[in-house]
């Protein structure tokens, strides 16, 4: 979230799209009801299903699963063609005026630089026109046809209400009603917040859906302001912490990136990431990359990381390609993976195309699962009748189950969607042989290190040199690890302006990442967490909910990264002169008397830089402003474009009916063997979408009696029109088939799944909750991911769980 849960109460309008907060985030949803009850906020829900969130909405608009870019592109067109934008905001705080290279083109759904054979773009033309001074050229009049404003306007002019309705199936009047409500928040004193989740991420163009929504918010001036923002609602309680700590396959902690295999040279690696400002006077905060990187390497390798060995850079893996979930299972399926460790992860249930995942696991020599529960993955080799029909005799994979603690059986911090690191305390001892994850990983590490010490090996340095100065080496405590993430001075850290002034003494905890140094004098395991455990103590454990400004920012509750800041880009809540756009919702402001920025939140700007200096709010971007034109940051284009899901009821993309290359996302990675597993609308005519229910949490709570009581048995949801067509009544059992397999479940026939008219034809949606499986105490069921396609988002490789094709029949 750019903002946070409590801040939703400051919104005037709430758009829930690509998510179902009432269902999946009922506790956070309370801030929606707060905004409605106390701010007279209105709630819009746009979703293929009339969800629990829709039940609370002032206005609901249906949409075909997977067509959100068309809808939001239509909103952009509506706003631009009516000038319903926050002009002062976009002119000053975005790339509206920036000029784009002449070579950049977009023709019939394809951007310049497309390599059809490899389904990849050469992004060289996706950039700015740079002046001789190295800065981006601009046209303040925004008349130049190559300025971002003009390019964007032309790009989205195609997204007319008629086109939106043809693609999305949303009736035009419903679409226009939503546009009208959204456009109202372009006023400086009106804000909209957008709440989304996996309904946007789980598409082959999910990242671009989110970008389109962010563009809408920027046009309205709704980023960086209270009650605004782009708010990703994270699923697992610590999935935010997972990405923060760099557990994605191509990341390092704090969203630093792992080097690629061509980046053998350390200097080139850091230079590429030490981004120089692209506009005069901008902060371009990634200029500090070397400080973050060196401090991380010092945290990992301690004294062994020196200036001479480039802070142990050679010991980092260099990526040949991203090794995301789909890539790993593809490799496993091709027999290239021997062993697999699943820590808190149940891929047989959670990954797409169960038959491929099951086959892949069967090719392993060994599988380790670290989990509090016996998961489907750990039992993938067992025959569970129709629900897991495998032959154990033919599976040679050796499986090790290492029972771990659950959250209530350990101390630690969890990062919530609002980036708050909240400490929690152990409530009970774990049962049986269960150990904490630290103990399990430490055990594996110490054993491996002993083996390397004894036997040498091909490349022992990264293991042998790893710092492991824990008071209990076999069981590092959560407190020790948290202090390491936050960071410590190895030598006195002095003020760069006054070297005689010591900011932090050697051995003390740092106050924040501003104190990190690139000379090896500081350690910090995750720079964005820096300051969470300072000499003041464990700030994550704070539980003071006082709200002196009455705007819900509660700076003394836990710790928010970065720098305890609650709303990112909050400089943008003020006009260029430093005055809040909306005096009734003052977040921060420039205090000329005191010569600093101050207010209810930690200012997201150089604290003593007066507005006249012109530092713009988007300090992480070298431009200093937010980008409508994504330059070369996205794999599938600088402007989001609507493409069809990989499996779609339409044979062509209505925007590019004559270009088959532009039907589905041209840059989505598809493994060779998987093309044949995709189905077509002639055999699988219905759009399927998968989702979660409020009564359950993933595949966990089917092990819990109370949750099993409230939602005991697998079901699928079918609209009344489709049910009538197929002769299905509520309570009947139905078989749902995709080209990859089938499931059988109880039919819930409902008005809440409407048949939509798409390109003149009715399109039915089948809704499939995910929670059942063959372990636990709820009624056994099929793993829903038996049905889903093995393809992911072009940027993140998040699987396309939200839109694919099925057929349905009564059994």
């Amino acid at each position: 979230m750019t903002n946070h849960w409590v801040d939703i109460k400051n919104a005037d309008l709430i758009l829930i799209m690509g998510g179902n907060a009432a269902e999946a985030h009922p506790c956070g949803f309370k801030w929606v009801t707060e905004a409605k009850a106390h701010r007279k906020a209105r709630l819009i829900v746009v979703d293929p299903r009339f969800t629990r969130s829709a039940a609370m909405a002032d206005y609901y608009a249906p949409i075909r699963a997977g067509s959100d870019i068309a809808f939001l592109g239509g909103v952009i067109n509506y706003l631009l063609s009516r000038d319903s934008i926050h002009l002062d905001y976009v002119k000053n705080y975005t790339d509206f005026t920036f000029l784009v290279k002449d070579e950049f083109t977009f023709e019939d759904g394809i951007y310049s630089g497309y390599d059809a054979a490899n389904r990849k773009y050469d992004r060289a033309t996706w950039g700015y026109q740079l002046g001789e001074d190295g800065f981006v050229k601009t046209d303040l009049s925004v008349q130049d046809p190559r300025c971002v404003y003009q390019l964007m306007k032309a790009h989205y002019a195609r997204y007319t209400p008629e086109m939106v309705s043809r693609i999305c199936g949303t009736p035009q009047e419903a679409f226009l009603k939503v546009c009208e409500m959204i456009a109202g928040t372009s006023a400086p004193d009106r804000t909209m917040t957008i709440m989304y989740a996996l309904g946007w991420t789980q598409h082959s163009y999910g990242s671009q859906m989110i970008r389109t929504a962010a563009m809408v918010q920027l046009l309205l001036g709704n980023i960086g302001v209270p009650g605004g923002g782009m708010n990703a609602l994270r699923g697992h309680s610590n999935i935010q912490g997972l990405t923060d700590l760099g557990l994605l396959s191509d990341l390092l902690p704090g969203y630093m990136t792992l080097p690629g295999e061509k980046e053998a040279d350390y200097q080139k690696y850091v230079e590429k990431r030490t981004l120089k400002p692209l506009r005069p006077g901008q902060m371009s905060y990634w200029q500090n990359y070397p400080k973050f990187f060196v401090s991380t390497m010092k945290a990992w390798y301690g004294d062994a990381a020196t200036a001479e060995n480039n802070w142990a850079y050679d010991w980092l893996p260099k990526l040949d390609k991203p090794h995301d979930l789909l890539q790993v299972f593809e490799d496993m399926n091709n027999g290239k993976v021997n062993g697999y460790i699943c820590q808190g992860f149940n891929p047989l249930a959670s990954a797409p195309c169960k038959v491929k995942v099951s086959g892949s696991l069967s090719k392993l020599k060994y599988l380790v699962t670290i989990d509090p529960l016996a998961t489907e993955t750990s039992e993938f080799w067992q025959n569970h009748g129709e629900y897991n029909d495998v032959d154990p005799a033919r599976i040679q994979t050796e499986v090790f189950r290492l029972p771990s603690t659950c959250f209530a059986e350990e101390d630690g911090s969890l990062v919530n969607s609002g980036r708050w690191l909240q400490w929690h305390w152990k409530a009970a001892d774990p049962p049986g042989e269960a150990k904490t994850d630290q103990e399990i990983i430490a055990g594996i590490f110490l054993k491996l290190r002993a083996l390397y010490q004894k036997e040498g090996g091909a490349f022992p340095d990264p293991i042998l040199n790893l710092t492991w100065k824990h008071k209990q080496p076999a069981a590092p405590s959560a407190e020790e690890l948290a202090r390491e993430f936050s960071g410590r001075a190895l030598k006195d850290v002095t003020d760069p302006k006054d070297p005689a002034k010591v900011l932090v003494k050697a051995g003390e905890q740092l106050n924040g990442f501003a104190e990190l140094r690139d000379d090896g004098s500081t350690i910090c395991g995750c720079w964005i967490f820096s300051g969470c455990w300072s000499e003041k103590g464990n700030l994550m454990a704070r539980r003071d909910n006082s709200d002196p400004y009455g705007i819900g920012q509660t700076l003394n509750w836990a710790f928010a990264w970065p720098a305890n800041r609650r709303i990112l880009y909050n400089r943008a809540s003020c006009d260029p002169a430093g005055k809040p756009w909306d005096a009734s919702r003052k977040l921060i402001a420039w205090d000329a008397g005191a010569g600093k920025w101050a207010g209810a939140d930690v200012p997201d700007i150089k604290a003593d830089s007066p507005p006249e200096e012109g530092i713009n709010p988007f300090i992480m971007n070298p431009e200093g402003v937010a980008r409508f034109f994504a330059v070369d940051k996205m794999a599938d284009g600088p402007f989001p474009e609507h493409y069809e899901p990989m499996e779609s009821p339409l044979d062509v993309n209505p925007l590019h009916p004559n270009n088959p290359k532009a039907r589905a996302n041209p840059a989505a990675r598809v493994f060779k063997g998987d093309w044949a597993t995709f189905g077509k609308a002639d055999k699988f005519p219905f759009v399927a979408t998968t989702y979660r229910l409020t009564e359950h949490f993933h595949y966990w709570t089917k092990h819990v009696r109370l949750d099993a009581i409230t939602q005991p048995e697998q079901f699928v949801e079918i609209g009344e029109a489709l049910a009538k067509e197929k002769g299905i009544r509520s309570g009947d059992h139905v078989r749902v088939r995709s080209n990859r397999g089938h499931i059988v479940a109880v039919a819930v026939v409902t008005k809440r799944l409407m048949s939509l008219k798409v390109e003149g034809k009715p399109v039915h949606t089948v809704g499939i909750p995910i929670h059942w499986g063959f372990m636990g105490i709820a009624k056994n069921g099929y793993l829903t991911n038996t049905l889903t396609p093995f393809v992911g988002d072009a940027n993140t490789q998040t699987p396309e769980f939200k839109a694919f094709l099925v057929d349905v029949e009564k059994v």
């Binding site: 629990r52 109370l706 409230t710």
Partner: protein, 289 residues
């Protein structure tokens, strides 16, 4: 279970006067259906606090689970898909359970002394140790709430967490509700709170939004805020004008006085017999034998 900290103001099948010296605030639970997302956290909290565990059932084609109230499920969500205005779908989710009537039909109907009581704060509670399993309470209830246990043949229902309320806590369902759809306090405050919600709903186009506090049962200590106050039956057949079954009135209104008269006559006849004939004298021989 009798709670010493709450005064009992009415007791089934009991005629002797109840205590009235102390003053207790009348309480109420307000269920704001316009804020209820049907998450069932209240169902779970109810089972946890009251040590109930219903069966893991089946799905019969609806979201309502368990399927019905039972001795193990004292509250549950009932989901209704309605289109009051053509083309505008609504998913109305009503938390069902005991309404804690001011004039409780169950208590009136109950022939077992002390099996059903009403406390001075308005809560109607079942004391199962006194329950004889006759089922009259179900006949007496205009909301179809009490359920019999197959295990002990006694009737069970929501206690409004009388044990928690007696010591100043809110009911478990209130504590757990994530959206503020459930609120609890004095009945007076809850009516006030509801007025604010109704004003808000009217502004949003629900011109018939209203408080459900049916007077046919003397008002209730569980009240609803309904978007469509004129059509409570939309909400999984919430009765529009609930009243106590005529059978109970018959029992209380005619049958009971008649029976009382019968009992009185018998006593009178006995006394008359005593006065006219005198006490029964036992022969000495009989005593010896």
């Amino acid at each position: 279970m009798a709670l010493q900290s709450l005064d009992i103001t009415a007791r089934s099948a009991t005629t002797r006067p109840m205590p009235s010296a102390r003053h207790t605030t009348e309480v109420a639970k307000l269920i704001d259906i316009s804020k209820c997302i049907g998450c069932k956290a209240c169902q779970v909290a109810c089972m946890e606090w009251n040590d109930l565990r219903d069966e893991i059932g089946t799905n019969v084609g609806v979201y309502d689970n368990p399927r019905d109230l039972s001795d193990q499920s004292w509250t549950l969500m009932r989901f209704s898909e309605v289109e009051v205005q053509a083309g505008r779908l609504e998913w109305l989710i009503r938390k069902d359970g005991c309404m804690h009537c001011a004039d409780p039909g169950c208590l009136k109907a109950c022939p077992a002394p002390g099996a059903i009581v009403q406390y001075s704060n308005g809560i109607v509670d079942f004391h199962e140790e006194n329950c004889i399993g006759c089922g009259y309470c179900l006949t007496g209830c205009p909301f179809n709430i009490p359920r019999f246990s197959k295990k002990d043949s006694k009737a069970y229902k929501c206690t409004l967490c009388s044990d928690r309320v007696a010591v100043g806590l809110e009911p478990a369902c209130i504590k757990t509700c994530p959206t503020g759809a459930l609120v609890f306090g004095s009945k007076e405050d809850m009516i006030l709170h509801a007025e604010g919600r109704i004003t808000d709903l009217k502004e949003r186009g629900f011109s018939n939004a209203a408080l459900y506090d049916p007077q046919g049962v003397g008002g209730t200590h569980v009240m609803y805020v309904l978007q469509h106050g004129d059509q409570p039956e939309l909400y999984a057949n919430l009765p529009k004008d609930p009243s106590i079954s005529p059978l109970v009135s018959l029992w209380k209104g005619i049958a009971k006085p008649l029976m009382s008269l019968g009992v009185g006559l018998a006593v009178f006849a006995g006394f008359f017999h005593f006065v006219t004939v005198g006490p029964k004298e036992v022969e000495e021989e009989e005593e010896r034998s």
